[in-house]
């Protein structure tokens, strides 16, 4: 009599691995996926439990402008962040004055340690019409008092977001630039390329991926901040987070707030897709 040996089930082989990642998976499922699914579903469910697009329509009708505003402010902030981060990281990498490089290296990280709400509060008194910035400009004779205007609108938001996120992106970027092969830079310099050209045509293309990652993570952060728009922006249009809070605070209306959240998910989903694709392709290159 012969005994038939069943091949070991593939599941059994995976079991220890599954067990090991189970706590992490469970945490993600309970704390992230379930609330996410819930809020997506509740954006489409009416009081009687039926399906409806009424919340979505209300969200677009009342807050369409805020949606567009959010997208524009976010893009504006990201543009400003990239310009400043590239400038700072570029100088840290290519700068020729050692003390200036050291000072800059010291200074640029500070906003990393300031919470968003403090940044918002500071911006609010700094950028107001008769605020600190205009006061300094007027006192030093650089600006005519009659020309003073409040920057507490989209400009204030862009400036505050940039101020908060530039150190983060710069940190990533400067790290990446430092690991770029110096010989490519020196070769370019020897061929007579200026430092700016060297930065834009030699260094930047090599760290493009890192810059994009920094910007994507900043995008997600900016979309989720509530304190800054609440403190800086007066009236409408404003960022979506502020309108979600408004919907919950004054109407107890989670449905429309969820519908607004849906748009945030859509925007971040695009960013997440790009991010995943990039890290995966980098990973593949690394394996190769």
């Amino acid at each position: 009599m012969s005994t038939v040996h069943a091949p070991p089930s593939p599941l059994r082989g995976m079991l220890p691995g599954l067990l090991l990642i189970a706590p992490a998976l469970l945490a993600i499922a309970l704390l992230y996926v379930v609330p996410l699914a819930r809020s997506v579903i509740f954006a489409f469910v009416d009081a009687e439990g039926g399906l409806t697009t009424a919340h979505l329509r209300t969200a677009i009708e009342l807050y369409g402008r805020d949606l567009i505003f959010t997208v524009l402010v976010t893009l504006g902030s990201l543009a400003l962040i990239s310009v400043i981060s590239i400038a700072i990281a570029g100088y840290l990498t290519l700068g020729a004055t050692p003390w200036a490089v050291t000072a800059l290296r010291w200074l640029y990280r500070w906003p990393l340690f300031i919470p968003f709400i403090v940044a918002g509060q500071t911006a609010r008194s700094f950028l107001a019409r008769n605020g600190l910035m205009n006061g300094l400009l007027i006192d030093s004779g650089l600006m005519d008092p009659a020309l003073a205007q409040s920057l507490l609108d989209w400009r204030g938001l862009v400036l505050t977001f940039a101020w908060k996120q530039v150190p983060f992106v710069t940190l990533l970027l400067a790290g990446a630039m430092a690991s770029v092969d110096r010989s490519t830079i020196e070769a370019a310099r020897n061929m007579g390329a200026g430092r700016l050209r060297c930065l834009l045509q030699i260094v930047l293309p090599q760290v493009r991926g890192t810059l994009l990652v920094g910007l994507i993570l900043s995008l997600v952060t900016i979309l989720s901040v509530l304190s800054v728009p609440l403190m800086v922006i007066a009236g409408n249009p404003t960022m979506m987070t502020a309108m979600m809070a408004h919907r919950v605070t004054y109407y107890g209306d989670y449905a429309v707030a969820n519908a607004l959240g849906l748009f945030s998910y859509l925007i971040t989903a695009v960013a997440a897709y790009v991010y995943l694709r990039m890290t995966l392709s980098q990973h593949k290159e690394g394996v190769r």
Partner: protein, 376 residues
């Protein structure tokens, strides 16, 4: 897994420890000053009078959102035998909803200070009958602050204010309806003045079709906004006045007096309530239906609504208007302190122009109409 079970057990053991020594959980909506009031003043006073009792105060955040959070906390444990909130402090709108949904118990008759409650807002909260379920902690009122150096003859009514704002573009500032209740209250006052249905807005009955007749009032508000400055939040209005960016704007009276007392606001600024009036609102002490320490909670509220505490805590320390009968409180204050409450706005004006907030459905409908027709 075992470890998390152990941790959970340890946590619940720690949390349940103080309960043995009687803990009174006070959950309050409102700004940080509300939590300060319980933690710094009322809690210690109650603990001193009741040895062995610990008062634990928890804030749920400013504005109606704070009351909403407390409501959600209670609604979530509706099916439990005992709830973890003994005393709640809430705004009007949520108090009405909580009474309707059976989340609160009627306790005023059991409180010795129940007879001192005389205000109409203790019976009716934005159109909902709440008699017996609530006792007002204090009354707060929205008024217009102005800088007499810039506005020697301030407008005395909404109609005059419109003309003034037109003649002085950018000089009137308010925080719209998304930045706090002072701005919301200003808009409600606007509707009382220009909608031709002020009484119905406050006492109902609600008629969804009524909103269609608000077109002209909202259109004129939109026009008014084009010459007004929109400020970021209640405090934003006061900040802008301090910096001289605006000369007039709606504020909470208690916040105004507190800022002046703290030296944070130009003491020359004054207050007025334009005709026909601006809304104010009380905050209520409530006892949840299944509070663990209901009797202790009533005792706590008795202390909180006693004339002595209303005088010392509510009026003297926090510049609020008393929640109970003002005459009972008056005896515990010096004439000077009493009149300081009414420096700018006399008791007569307050009685005539201090109005209730709109009935709950109109409250919501006015805000939505504003978003649709004024802000967009």
């Amino acid at each position: 897994m075992k470890r998390s079970v152990f941790l959970g057990a340890a946590f619940s053991a720690v949390l349940s420890l103080p309960a043995a020594a009687q803990t009174l959980n006070v959950v309050t909506a409102g700004d940080t000053n509300m939590v300060d009031y319980i933690n710094d003043y009322l809690g210690p006073l109650f603990e001193e009078q009741n040895p062995g009792v610990t008062v634990r105060a928890l804030g749920t955040g400013p504005g109606d959102g704070g009351s909403q959070a407390l409501y959600e906390k209670l609604a979530a444990q509706k099916d439990n035998d005992v709830w973890d909130v003994d005393v709640g402090v809430v705004h009007q709108r949520m108090a009405g909803q909580m009474v309707t949904e059976g989340l609160l118990q009627s306790y005023r008759d059991r409180a010795a200070t129940g007879d001192l409650v005389t205000t109409g807002s203790a019976e009716n909260a934005l159109g909902v009958d709440v008699g017996g379920y609530v006792m007002p902690m204090f009354q707060s009122q929205i008024a217009i602050a102005y800088n007499p150096a810039l506005v020697p003859n301030p407008p005395q009514s909404y109609a005059e204010l419109v003309d003034w704002a037109k003649a002085n573009p950018g000089q009137f500032g308010y925080n719209g309806i998304t930045g706090g209740m002072a701005g919301v209250g200003f808009v409600f006052g606007w509707m009382y003045a220009f909608s031709d249905m002020a009484d119905a807005l406050r006492s109902g009955p609600f008629d969804a079709a009524a909103a269609e007749s608000w077109g002209p009032a909202l259109a004129s508000l939109k026009e008014f906004n084009s010459v007004a400055t929109i400020t970021p939040g209640n405090a934003g209005t006061l900040d802008a006045m301090n910096r001289g960016e605006i000369a007039m704007g709606p504020v909470w009276m208690d916040m105004f007096y507190t800022w002046v007392a703290d030296g944070r606001l130009n003491p020359d600024l004054k207050l007025l309530i334009p005709a026909p009036g601006m809304p104010g609102q009380p905050m209520y002490y409530v006892v949840p239906e299944k509070a663990a320490e209901a009797d202790l909670a009533v005792k706590f509220i008795e202390l909180a609504t006693s004339p002595e505490v209303q005088a010392e805590g509510i009026v003297r320390r926090f510049n609020w208007l008393p929640g109970i009968d003002a005459n009972a409180v008056k005896e515990n204050l010096t004439a000077e302190e009493w009149s300081a409450l009414f420096t700018d706005v006399s008791p007569e004006v307050l009685a005539e122009r201090g109005l209730a907030m709109p009935q709950a459905d109109y409250f919501r409908t006015i805000l939505e109409a504003y978003e649709r027709q004024v802000a967009n």
